[in-house]
Symmetry: C2
Subunit: 147 residues, 2 copies
DNA sequence: TTAAGTGCAAAAGCTTTGCGGGTAG
DNA sequence: CTACCCGCAAAGCTTTTGCACTTAA
């Protein structure tokens, strides 16, 4: 992610904090900046390791709590695929995942036709849909070779 | 799930075991039958609690291991949404999920237009796609009322 | 017979909680 | 000033592992 986009996201975060009365702390800023530097889907642990270089001594607890806060504020997303570890994702725009059912590897994929998916009417369920993800399930190259 | 369908699934499991040389044990049978009785998405723990009435003394370890085996054999599926606990699902046919980003509740949804999704060509990635799921992300009724 | 599954107990993650002290608004 | 956040340590849950015994094929 280029510097400009990153800065914009941080500024957006600051504005949202101000307007919602949520304290904009150095730790939170550092954690958001760190997540934005990942191209893939880091775990909380990986974010902690990475943010430590920028903010030595920051606690794991703070990282866990802050990541959750960022998700609630819609600044990052939380992805969870088989493998049972929560992963975070700086991408808030639509994209999709290929998930291998054998080794549980996850690969990002973009596809216009998927993005144009007709979102069903869920108003009868009281559900307001903002976003969607498609999980394509199958077998990756490596696992296919093994068989 | 009605008795007949359930029995068919158990028989399918038995046949697959025979042909693949995988031992068809009483425990595995009991676990599969138990999962098939859930309408929703039970956790490994819930499956263990339920199977215990049918098979007292069965170990948690066996339940964990067997659920994974069943997934690998394609007899049940594994669903993982925010909330970080793996859930299992007797449904192997296509269906989709509404996921609340606040409370992480998961609701099943069926929609023909979603089922007709154009699956992109992933052969260049070496990925063979068998199946897909759409995860619709938003806010559920209860959480919307709170705000 | 023999390769694989099962149960137990213990360990190994990952994540949350309680609380005293600190900081943003 | 006051409410909320942070760090620490410890607990809590879910899941996995090693090993001796049992079982399906």
């Amino acid at each position: 992610m280029d510097k400009k986009t990153k800065q914009k996201r941080v500024e957006l975060f600051e504005r949202q904090c101000r307007s919602q009365g949520v304290p904009f702390t150095v730790q939170r800023r550092a954690i958001l900046e760190t997540v934005l530097e990942f191209d893939n889907h880091p775990t909380a642990e990986q974010v902690h390791d990475a943010v430590t270089t920028r903010f030595p001594g920051i606690s794991r607890t703070t990282v866990y709590r802050t990541l959750e806060t960022l998700v609630q504020m819609g600044l990052i997303t939380k992805a969870c695929h088989p493998g049972s570890v929560v992963r975070y994702d700086r991408r808030i725009e639509v994209h999709h995942h290929l998930v291998c059912q054998r080794c549980e590897e996850v690969v990002d994929i973009s596809d216009e036709r998927l993005d144009a998916l007709p979102v069903p009417d869920t108003s009868s369920l009281g559900f307001e849909v903002f976003d969607f993800r498609v999980q394509l399930r199958g077998i990756c190259r490596r696992c296919r070779k093994k068989e």
